[in-house]
Subunit: 419 residues, 2 copies
């Protein structure tokens, strides 16, 4: 492994706060060069932002593996005919982006993929022996928001993980739905999010069991009521002061919905006529669940929860780099810093070296906090003479001296979750 | 690590040859359940196909790291205004897919991203100190082909890696262009492709130096002339029998273009008015290179080159699984096969166990060859009694007996390229 160099990294920091950014995550992701706006609700994700996305994707991949879901890729262009069959071509409204090809055939850009996956499954699944299974993708989705805003929180083009499971009966669907929901909790935990699961169940069979995973944040667009005992509800559904489960006082927050899981039931298999043959040779409808996580939305939600006036405070698990090495000078100081960066990198840490010679120490410190590096190793002339470096923990602001000879041994494992 | 099970894998094999498939890669990728058609030129990539894509992406990532390129993500939706600026909105023709949003603003679906990246760079790069750099993405691209065909070879929605480099002067661009071209050769090698580099250089400065990387295949849409000495040219440019470099006889083949590299020069920075300040404070145009690889096209090209009448012959480096374990029976045979799969998996191999109890050995053999597993470990009752298993190498068809106790030690490393 080798380390990255600030002098080569494409992560242009902005000195000014961008005028259009109303909330912290939008402001900081722009200022620290994680994203750039291309058009309203449409963003380029720069290398640092992309590293965060890739880390979240890898966490999702591991947790989906653990619940036997298989990764694949569905097309973005979806034929109108499938959406007419499901009834959503008319129902979806202006948020569905539509176009025609050179032969005047109509398509939409997928906001979700229930139609596509149901049509796919219809052509290949015939028997109870083929069930159950769960397929998922991490792909770009489109939703033509009337008023896109808040950067990655309410974008028109965004990354989403969507999973679809198929079952022989509602009991099997319910059991798997709960496995997915548990996996979603682990994903939120591993991304460093403070979250609540808000269940909803109207009692009807098919399509009405659902849960939202809400990140607690003032910038959220939904209000939730929650209790220390684990109870949580949408404030539009439960508006009381005392927890209905344990009777204690509830708390409130403007939640960010980072994911949602559904027991869809037979809505799409009925609409699209998808059937399998059961053990007795009788045709039965397929039972379906679907499970979504906003990946780019997750990036924004974590920053909403983890920042201060100086910048972003990444949990190590999804930080673009876990450790930054900041030399305060050139010559021997720079050479020692490069050796430290190489040693930490060889020990399995993801390291970035601030090797810029034309940048003052004060700017290096400020930008290290802005970018949000979890651990910052500060290498100075005086310390080196005494055989020490200073290590700053971004989350606490605490600085501690370490003997150079002991630095590697004292560092947390790079796979540690959070700092 | 754990191994995969055929009984759970979503890879529906087709018994019939799909009527619309004219060439081997299209036919085999459909038959072996790697892809499914959603609409003309639009495919879903099923789990096995997606594993191949991910392996190719990882090879690309490693080779791009080696030439200091940084991964990021550009938007698919591109505003019309940028394409009007570059002159391509009118020039691109009906292959450009266009749409309007709910506010009647026009966009296209990116076939390439020169406009977007030039506009991005324009907002952040000001000084010679910021140069050079190279950014790349692996993203879905769109081209509304008049006659999409050949499956992943000529699709309307496809995966492409596109890189863009920016330089202070043409000499720096040329040097980096050659580094990218060398990386492209390594990528083709690692994917197991037999290929030729076809250079073209009209001699004009800016925008005319280019090379294509052609996979040799009968199903290709271009004819190339090449020689053992390394010379290669498009048959439309050089149509002679004797190599102009060494005088020997040339050979011919219908090549598949899997990638192309360009020294674009200042075309986009001129059109879009992008400048940097040089060491003396004078405004200068940015010099640009761009470098594309068709990722899904690469999948098809490899299958075109590596198949026989029975199915696909994957090189290990991009096979969905490197080793298949095929138990010929249940009970003790199945239990032993599961142990062998676990042992191989723990030794670092990517293993799939054909644990289907209701499938005859003949079908297992035929499907193992169809899917293209590079190494197939056949576990039978008689062999087990003698403490042996049979190992078939897909590429050669050779079967050899191995003592169970020596199996792991004799297997090639899972990181070995090809078999």
């Amino acid at each position: 492994m080798s380390y990255a160099r600030m002098s080569e990294l494409y992560a242009p920091a902005l000195k000014e706060t961008p005028a259009e950014a109303e909330i912290a995550s939008h402001r900081l992701l722009l200022r620290a060069g994680y994203i750039r706006k291309t058009a309203a609700g449409i963003y380029s994700i720069l290398p640092l932002g992309w590293r965060v996305v890739q880390k979240i994707e890898q966490i999702i991949r591991e947790e989906m593996d653990a619940v036997d879901a298989q990764e694949m890729r569905l097309p973005i262009l979806q034929p109108k005919e499938l959406w007419v069959e499901s009834g959503r071509w008319d129902a979806y409204g202006p948020e569905l982006m539509r176009l025609t090809d050179r032969h005047e055939r109509a398509f939409c850009l997928g906001p979700t993929h229930e139609e596509i996956i149901t049509a796919l499954v219809a052509s290949d699944v015939r028997s109870y022996r083929d069930l159950p299974f769960c397929l998922y993708q991490m792909n770009t989705k489109f939703r033509d928001e009337m008023r896109p805003r808040f950067g990655l929180l309410r974008a028109r083009e965004f990354l989403m993980k969507d999973a679809y499971s198929f079952h022989a009966n509602p009991a099997d669907l319910s059991a798997y739905y709960e496995r997915q929901a548990q996996a979603y909790g682990r994903i939120c935990d591993r991304c460093g999010l403070t979250w609540r699961r808000v269940d909803a169940d109207s009692g009807e069979i098919g399509g009405k069991v659902t849960a939202e995973f809400m990140a607690l944040a003032d910038a959220g667009e939904a209000e939730i009521v929650f209790c220390d005992c684990g109870y949580a509800a949408d404030a539009e559904v439960f508006d009381g002061d005392l927890c209905p489960d344990c009777g204690r006082s509830t708390q409130r927050a403007h939640g960010i919905e980072v994911s949602q899981v559904f027991e869809i039931g037979t809505k799409y298999s009925d609409a699209m006529g998808v059937r399998y043959l059961d053990e007795t040779g009788v045709e039965q409808p397929l039972w379906m669940g679907c499970y979504g996580i906003g990946i780019t939305r997750m990036v924004a939600a974590v920053v909403e929860q983890r920042h201060d006036d100086d910048g972003i405070i990444w949990p190590t698990a999804i930080a673009p780099y876990g450790v930054a090495v900041l030399p305060l000078g050139d010559g021997e100081v720079a050479a020692s810093a490069a050796r430290i960066a190489a040693d930490l990198s060889n020990a399995g840490h993801e390291v970035i070296l601030d090797d810029r010679f034309d940048v003052r120490p004060g700017v290096k410190f400020a930008e290290a906090d802005l970018y949000g590096w979890p651990l910052q190793v500060i290498v100075g002339k005086r310390g080196l003479a005494a055989g020490t470096v200073e290590v700053k923990t971004r989350a606490t602001g605490v600085r501690a001296e370490y003997a150079l000879s002991e630095l590697i041994g004292h560092f947390p494992s790079s796979t540690a979750n959070g700092v």
